[in-house]
């Protein structure tokens, strides 16, 4: 299959930043397409309950993303999900995006909102025991570990807060962290330290997951002594932050050393006509509200850029 279609703007990614950009662009009467490799909603759908989204008292991420998607479609935005992007040409004035099925889309402007994903440890046994003792979600899998001893890996807010919530089920929670101090907020650290079920192994990393049908132990290496010990456990919860989904644009736009897209105040990248927004850009705070804000700014800037191009073309035709 080989077809070619031109849009005023193409948005890559359908999380809150991408859907917001889609809403603003299509409402500005720009022909807009959202291309999404994953599930519409992105990381947003993974949030069980959102209580701090202004104007909405309580809503699940799944419901909020569905509303955003419908809103974007109402204004005429097209959305294609579960696609594979084969190649992108962003340097030229007319941007080209080619999918693995050879469908080719062109646009005057592109907004990159690929989002992020949970970071994994990438140590032996992690894939083998995922769902068999290795988990990334306390609220999902906590009850499988009722009365059992578990390990939590990480030192940020998620690790500390989820450790406390896991003590509702587990008889003992051991937090393993690579540094001698935590990155979490002080109140989260204090709450974990005050919990008698929570124990700490600092300046240590996991070297592997071991077991048969399910996990039975982990290797823990002390970074000071270099000594590795085998630590018996029934389960391991991993909360070590997020990675931006920017591998596919590594050579296309400027990224920082963490792989995040470098943007200016109007969300423009180093490539003319290319903007970025959401969790994949270089910034400190990552919230649904900040993604929505970024998406709005990127869409308004892209809209201004595209309208400017159209005005120039009109001027050339009339003179």
């Amino acid at each position: 299959m080989e077809t070619k279609r031109h849009y005023d703007a193409i948005v890559i990614g359908a999380g809150p930043a991408g859907l917001t950009a889609g809403i603003y662009l299509s409402r500005a009467k720009l022909k807009t397409l959202i291309l999404n490799e994953g599930i519409t909603g992105g990381q947003l759908i993974l949030t069980h309950e959102i209580a701090n989204y202004p104007g909405v008292e309580n809503i699940s991420g799944y419901q909020l993303s569905n509303i955003m998607m419908k809103q974007a479609k109402t204004f005429g935005c097209e959305i294609r999900s579960s696609i594979d992007i084969l190649d992108m040409e962003l340097q030229k004035k007319v941007k080209t995006i080619t999918l693995s099925d050879q469908t080719e889309y062109t646009a005057d402007s592109v907004i990159l909102t690929p989002g992020g994903r949970s970071r994994t440890l990438n140590v032996p046994g992690e894939d083998q025991f995922r769902g068999r003792g290795v988990s990334y979600c306390a609220t999902c899998d906590g009850d499988f570990f009722t009365g059992k001893e578990i390990v939590v890996i990480g030192g940020g807010n998620s690790a500390l807060e989820e450790s406390v919530s896991l003590t509702m089920y587990a008889s003992k929670v051991t937090i393993v962290h690579q540094f001698d101090h935590f990155q979490a907020f002080e109140h989260a650290v204090e709450e974990a330290q005050a919990n008698p079920k929570i124990h700490f192994i600092m300046e240590s990393v996991i070297t592997g997951f071991y077991g048969n049908e399910s996990i039975e132990s982990v290797g823990i290496k002390n970074l000071r002594s270099g000594r590795t010990t085998n630590f018996k456990t029934h389960g391991v919860f991993v909360f070590i932050g997020y990675l931006p989904n920017t591998e596919f644009i590594r050579d296309k736009v400027e990224l920082n050393n963490r792989g995040e897209i470098v943007v200016k105040h109007d969300m423009s990248t180093n490539i003319e006509g290319v903007y970025a927004a959401g969790d994949s850009i270089a910034k400190h705070f990552r919230q649904i509200t900040t993604a929505v804000g970024d998406g709005t700014i990127a869409a308004l800037a892209a809209s201004s850029y595209v309208h400017g191009l159209k005005a120039k073309q009109k001027h050339l035709i009339t003179t």
Binding site: I45, H48, R130, E213
Partner: protein, 118 residues
């Protein structure tokens, strides 16, 4: 209640009917949580591509889901959703916890080999 766009299995009888009346069946047994929702979403999107496969969900906390939770194939599973693939009523594959679209597609293509609608 699972508020997905998949067909829901509400009882053990529903489950039995689904796997006995259809050659290729995928059942996702989970909750409305972060590890489960992506798998429902993947299934919803693959329904149009794998038209020879019937896709269902079943609520993990529904007591009737014992038909999934007590399968020998899920022994050792400690992460939802439990995703079960049936061919002619027999379990041919079971996975635990979140899966990627590629992982699901690979299983569907391998276990339910048939001409896939492009």
């Amino acid at each position: 209640m699972l508020y997905t766009n998949l067909k829901h299995l509400e009882s053990a009888a529903d489950h039995q009917k689904a796997i006995s009346e259809n050659e290729n069946v995928m059942v996702i047994c989970g909750r409305m949580g972060p590890m489960c929702i992506p798998v429902y979403g993947i299934a919803e999107e693959l329904e149009n591509e794998f038209t020879h496969v019937k896709f269902y969900d079943m609520e993990f906390d529904n007591p009737e889901s014992h038909v999934i939770r007590n399968l020998p194939e899920v022994r050792g599973f400690m992460g939802i959703p439990f995703t079960i693939y049936y061919k002619n009523g027999k379990v041919v594959k079971a996975t635990s916890s979140i899966q990627t679209r590629d992982q699901v597609k690979t299983i569907l293509s391998r276990e339910f080999a048939a001409s896939v609608t492009a």
